[in-house]
Subunit: 349 residues, 4 copies
C-alpha cells in the first residue's frame, strides 16, 4: 500500500514551483500527484523545465481541473492576489488539505498594511486569521498544528533569522536597522522582464525598489513582534549577477552589548536548529556556502564605529527562502522528521 | 553496530575531492573516515571548503598518516604521476582496499601511449594490468569485480557515451569524427592559474590545448575498442564562462544510416541505464539540465550535409565526469544499488 | 558651418541600434539626427538605454515621422521583412540617402533562397538588385560606390573572413567544412525570450537552431562565390553565457596544403587590413581580445588528423558583426578614413 | 616633429596598468614610450595582455632599465610600499617628470595613519609632503600645478564624489555614515588568489575585509577635510561576480535637509563637471551605465525612515576609479582639455 502523502503544486512553471518539485520528487514520504500551470496546461513538465527529463511527473493541468479531495497537501507558487482566491477554493473543495503558501498573500496579519502595500483589499480575510507565519525556527509549534502556512518571503527569512533573536534580547536598537540586501536574479521570477535578461543583468549590479519593496512590512511586522514595538527599517535590495543566493548585510546599533555578545546570543538561539549555522568569529559568510541547500549562515562582525555591529545572513532564496522552508514546514505538519528531503549540501563550486 | 563502509579521500582539497565529499557525506551506506591534503594538513575541511560548515568531517591529514588498513575504499583526486606511487603504497598497506581513481594515471592501457602523452614512464606498470576502465555503462561487470578502477576523464565520459554504441554498431565512420568540446572552468581545477581568474575567464571564451589535450588518447583508446580499429579523432576543447558542465558536439559521417537510426541505436543501448538519457527528436541538450547531477543527456540531429549527423552529449564534469561516476562504481564494487546517493536532480536555475 | 553628415538610426531601441549610437556619437564626422523606435516613440533615448545619460540625443520617434530628406545616411536595425518595406519608403522619400542595413533583408542575392529561409517572398526585389554585400574586406570597391549596403550577419562575418581567402586559393575542400559557432547572448537580441533570461542562459550552454540557422545560406552564398561552386556547410551555433563575442571554430579538410600554408595565405590576404589580425603560430584567439572593438582575430592550428586543420575566428558580434562594420562601410561611402570612429581597443578585463 | 608627450607605465602587467595602456594608446597628445613589469621583462605586451595585438607597443622592461630623463610623465600601477621607493628613484633621475601614482602610497597625508594601516613606516616622507590627492573634481587647481599626484582609490573615488559636497554643505551627519560597497573582481587585481578564481567568485557574493579595508582611512581623511572634523565611517565592501564596476550605497542621516535637498546640492556641485552625472529623481544607477567609461553616476533616494536618505554612487573601478582618473589628472597637468582621450561611452550591453 502506498502510504505516501499526495502533494499538488500550484504554479509549477515558476522557479519556486520547480524547486518544490526538485525537493519533493526525492522526498521519501511524499508523491507529487498534481502540477498546475494554467498557461502551460497540457504540457509535460519536462517541456517547461527540461532538467526534469529523468522524472515521471504528472502533466501540467489547469488548477480548476484538479481533484483536491485526493490530495493531502498543496504548495502554492502563484502570484499575489490570485492566491487568496484559489486557496479559498481549494480549501472549500477539501477542508482537510494542508496549504504551504509560498506567495505573499497571507504573510501580513494587518489587512490594512496588506492593502496599502499590495494595492487591493485582501480577498480572503477569514483565512488570514488562521494563517500561521511559516518561519519555522520561530513558529514551530503553531506550524505543526496549522492548516494554512504563509511561508515567509526570501528576504524576510534571511533578515529575521539574523535580527529576531537580537531584537527579542534587546541587544540592538530596533529603530536604527539598515539592511543592505543583495539577491540573485531568480528572485525576480521567471516572467519575461527586460531587466532580467542575461545581457542586461549580467556583468553589473543595481539597487531596485528602494524604499518600496514589499518585503519591508513583513520584516517590520516580525521584528515588531520580537521587540514588542512598532518598527520601521531601512531595506534596500540590490540585483546581483548570479542566479541563486541572497545576502543581507544588516547594520545595527548596539544597546550596550558587543559584537561578541550578539554572536553568543545567536549561537545560543540556534544551537539545536538543524539548518541555521552561526559562523565562528572571523568567518565571513558567502552565498556559495548555501547554494541549492536549505542552510542559513549568519555572522556578526564588530564595526569600527563604537556601538555598532554588522550582522550578515545568507540563504538560497529558492530553498530556505521559499520551497525548502515550505518542505520543512510540511515535514512538521505531517509529523515527519523536520530535515527529511532537505539534507542537500550546497552545490559548490 | 556501524556497518557503513569506511571511505578515505586522497586530495580532498581539490574540486573532485570536494564533490566526492558532497556525495559521500549523504550516502546512506558509507562513512567518510579520512581526508588527505598534504598542503593543508591539520586544517578542518571547512577552512578549505567553507560550504561544508554543516558537516562533521575528519580533519585533513597528510596521506602518509592515514591507517589504510582501517578503510574499505579510497577515492583518489590527486594529480597524475603522483597517484601511481601513492596508490601502490596504499595497496601495499591494505591489499583488500578498493580504489576509485579519479586521476588520469591508470586510464591508458598502452604504457607507451601513457609515456608519450604524460611525459614520463608509468610508475606502477604492474597495477596498470589490473586496472579496469571505469566507464560504468560499458564495463559494469569488470568494475563489480575490480579492486582498482580508473575512472574516465570528464571529456571521455561525455564523448564515449555518445560514440561507443555508434562505433560498435558500425553506424559511423570512426576515421572522421570531429569533437568540439566545451567545458566549464572547474575542469581546470582549483590550482591558481591566471587564465581561470574570474576577470580573465569571465565574459569570453577560447579554445585551449588544441590538438594536444590528454583526453584525446583516452577517447581514441575506447572508440578503438568499440570499432576494433586504430582511431584518431579531432578533439578541440573550449573554456566556457560557467563553473560546471561539459558539452560535446560531435560531428560524424554516417555509414548508410540516418540520424534517426543513430538515435534509435542510442535509445536502445541505454534503455535500462539509470543515468543516461537520450533526448527525443527535436530536443537539444543543455548543460543546465544536468548541473550538479550524475545524469547524461544525449541527442542526435540530422545535418544539412548529406550523410552527416551531429551528436551532442552533456554531463556535469565533476559528477558523471568525475566524483559521481566514481560513487556509481563504488556502489557496484560494494554491491549497493547502483544509484544510491546519486539521485540528485539537476540544480536549475 | 556644421558639415557633419546627418545620420538616422532605424530601430534604435535594439542592441545593434544602441551600438551604432555608441560608435556614431563619438565619430568626428557625423551627427546623430534621428532615432526611431516605434514602440518607444516619445521617450528619451536614456529612458530606453540609461548608459547614454551623458549624451544629448534626439528623442525616439516613429519612423514615419522622420524627414528623410534632411538625412545623409540611415542605419537600419529593424527585424527582417519589415526592413524591406521601410527602406523602400525611405529611399522613395530621399533617393540620395545612403543605407546601412544591419538586418538580414538584403543579404541573399537569390530571392528563391531568401523566400525559402525567411518564409515569405522578398518585398523589395528591385532594391535587392542594387544591394551590395557589406563585408568590407571583400567588397570595398562596390561598397564605396553603393547606395544600399547589406551588412553581413555576425556569424557570416566571422566565418567568411576565415574561409573566403582559403576557398579562393583552393587550399581547402569547400564540401567538407564544419563550423562550430559560439555566440554571446546579445546575439539573440533585446526581445523578451525565456531562454535569454539570466537565470536560464547563465551558468550553462546549449546548441540552438542546429541545421536551421538563417546565417547558413549567407555563409554558403559567399563561400560559393569564393570557390566558384555550390556549397553546403555544417553550421552549428551555440549560446554561451557571456553578453558579447562570437567564436567560430571551423574544421576544414586540406587540399594538399598544410596548416602553415593556410596561415600564410590568410596573413598575406589581410596584411593591409586595419581590422583583421591573423595570430602568430601558437596563439589561440579569445573573444576577450576583441570585446567592444571592431577587430577580428583569426588563427590556424594543425589537426592531429592528417590533412585537416582548425581555423578559428573571433569578433564582437555587435561591432564587427554589426554596427562597427556598418560604420566601417559608411566611412567608405562618405570618403572618410576607413577606421574613423572605430579605433577602440578591446575592453579587457 | 613629434610633439607628443612621452609616457611610461610602471607595472604594466596589472589591470590598472593595462587600462592605462588602453586609454593612452588612443590619446591624441601622448605616446607610450616605456612599459615596465619586472617579472615579465623581455616579453611583448601582447604576450601578457593578448587584447593589445593591434598595438605597436614597447616591450616590457625592468623599471631600472628605463631612461627616465626621456619621459614626460609616468603612470604607476605598482603595489604599495614598493612604489614609494621607486618613485623617489624616478624623480631623482628626472626631477621634472610628472607622476600619476595609482597605488595607495601617497594618498594618506598623516604618516602615522599610513603606518598603522599599511604596516610599515612611510619610505618617502619628503615626497608625501608635495603629493596632491588626485580626486580631480575637488583638487583641480592643485593637480594642475602638481608634480606628484596620488590618484584616489576606487572606493574613495565613488564614495567621496557622493559624500563630500553633502559634508561640506553640512547636510548630513558625518558621524553616522554607513557605506555598503560592492566591487567587481578586477578590484582584487591580477595576482593569483584562490578567492578570485572563476569557480570560487562566480555565481555568489560575500563581504570581505569588513572593518579592515585600507580605503577606510582615505575616505575618512577626505570627508574629514570636507566636514572640518575627525570622522569614522562604516565601510563594508563586497565582492560581486562581475569584472568591472563599483557601487556604493551610502546610508546617511540628514541634518534637517530632505533627499531632494541633497540631490539639488549634488546637482549644483557637479553642474559643470564633464564626468559626474547626478541622476534625476526616480532613476537608480547601475554599474552597467558606466562600464569601461570615466563617468560617475550618483543618485539620492529618500528613506522610509524619517531623516535618513540613501545616496548611491557608481563608477568603473579601473577607469574613474584608477587609470581614467589618472589620465584626467594628466590632462590637467599638461594643459590638455580635461576630457581628452576619455570620452568613451559605457560598453553596454
Amino acid at each position: 500500500m502506498n502510504t505516501k502523502k499526495k502533494i499538488g503544486i500550484l504554479g509549477a512553471s515558476g522557479y519556486t514551483g520547480a524547486d518544490a518539485v526538485r525537493l519533493l520528487a526525492r522526498h521519501p514520504n511524499v508523491e507529487i500527484a498534481a502540477l498546475t500551470a494554467n498557461t502551460h496546461a497540457g504540457k509535460a513538465m519536462e517541456e517547461v523545465f527540461p532538467h526534469f527529463f529523468m522524472l515521471d511527473l504528472p502533466r501540467l493541468v489547469e488548477w480548476e481541473k484538479v481533484d483536491w479531495s485526493k490530495l493531502d497537501a498543496v504548495f502554492c507558487g502563484l502570484p499575489h492576489g490570485t492566491t487568496q482566491e484559489i486557496i479559498a477554493a481549494v480549501l472549500a473543495a477539501n477542508p482537510a488539505i494542508k496549504i504551504l503558501d509560498m506567495s505573499a498573500d497571507f504573510r501580513l496579519r494587518d489587512m490594512g498594511v496588506y492593502a496599502q502595500w499590495y494595492g487591493h483589499e485582501h480577498r480572503a480575510p477569514n483565512l488570514q486569521g488562521e494563517a500561521v507565519y511559516g518561519l519555522t525556527e520561530f513558529y514551530r509549534e503553531q506550524i505543526t498544528a496549522a492548516r494554512l502556512v504563509a511561508c515567509p518571503g526570501c528576504y524576510p527569512t534571511a533578515v529575521l533569522l539574523a535580527m529576531v533573536p537580537l531584537a527579542r534580547a534587546k541587544l540592538i536598537d530596533v529603530d536604527d536597522i539598515v539592511i543592505d540586501a543583495k539577491s540573485g536574479i531568480t528572485g525576480a521570477g521567471r516572467g519575461l522582464k527586460q531587466n532580467t535578461l542575461f545581457s542586461e543583468a549580467g556583468e553589473g549590479l543595481s539597487a531596485y525598489s528602494v524604499g518600496t519593496h514589499r518585503h519591508s512590512p513583513e520584516i517590520e511586522q516580525e521584528i515588531g513582534v520580537a521587540a514588542g514595538a512598532n518598527v520601521t527599517v531601512n531595506f534596500t535590495p540590490h540585483l546581483i549577477p548570479m542566479s541563486r543566493g541572497e545576502y543581507c548585510t544588516c547594520y545595527v546599533k548596539l544597546r550596550g552589548a558587543s559584537a561578541d555578545d550578539l554572536r553568543a546570543a545567536l549561537t545560543d538561539a540556534y544551537k539545536d536548529e538543524p539548518f541555521v549555522h552561526v559562523a565562528k568569529k572571523g568567518v565571513i559568510p558567502q552565498t556559495q556556502n548555501v547554494r541549492g541547500s536549505n542552510y542559513v549562515q549568519i555572522a556578526v562582525i564588530a564595526d569600527r564605529i563604537k556601538n555598532r555591529a554588522i550582522v550578515i545572513s545568507t540563504i538560497d532564496n529558492l530553498v530556505k527562502g521559499s520551497a525548502g522552508q515550505a518542505v520543512q514546514n510540511m515535514n512538521l505538519m505531517f509529523g515527519f522528521a523536520e530535515t527529511t528531503g532537505l539534507e542537500q549540501i550546497a552545490l559548490f563550486p
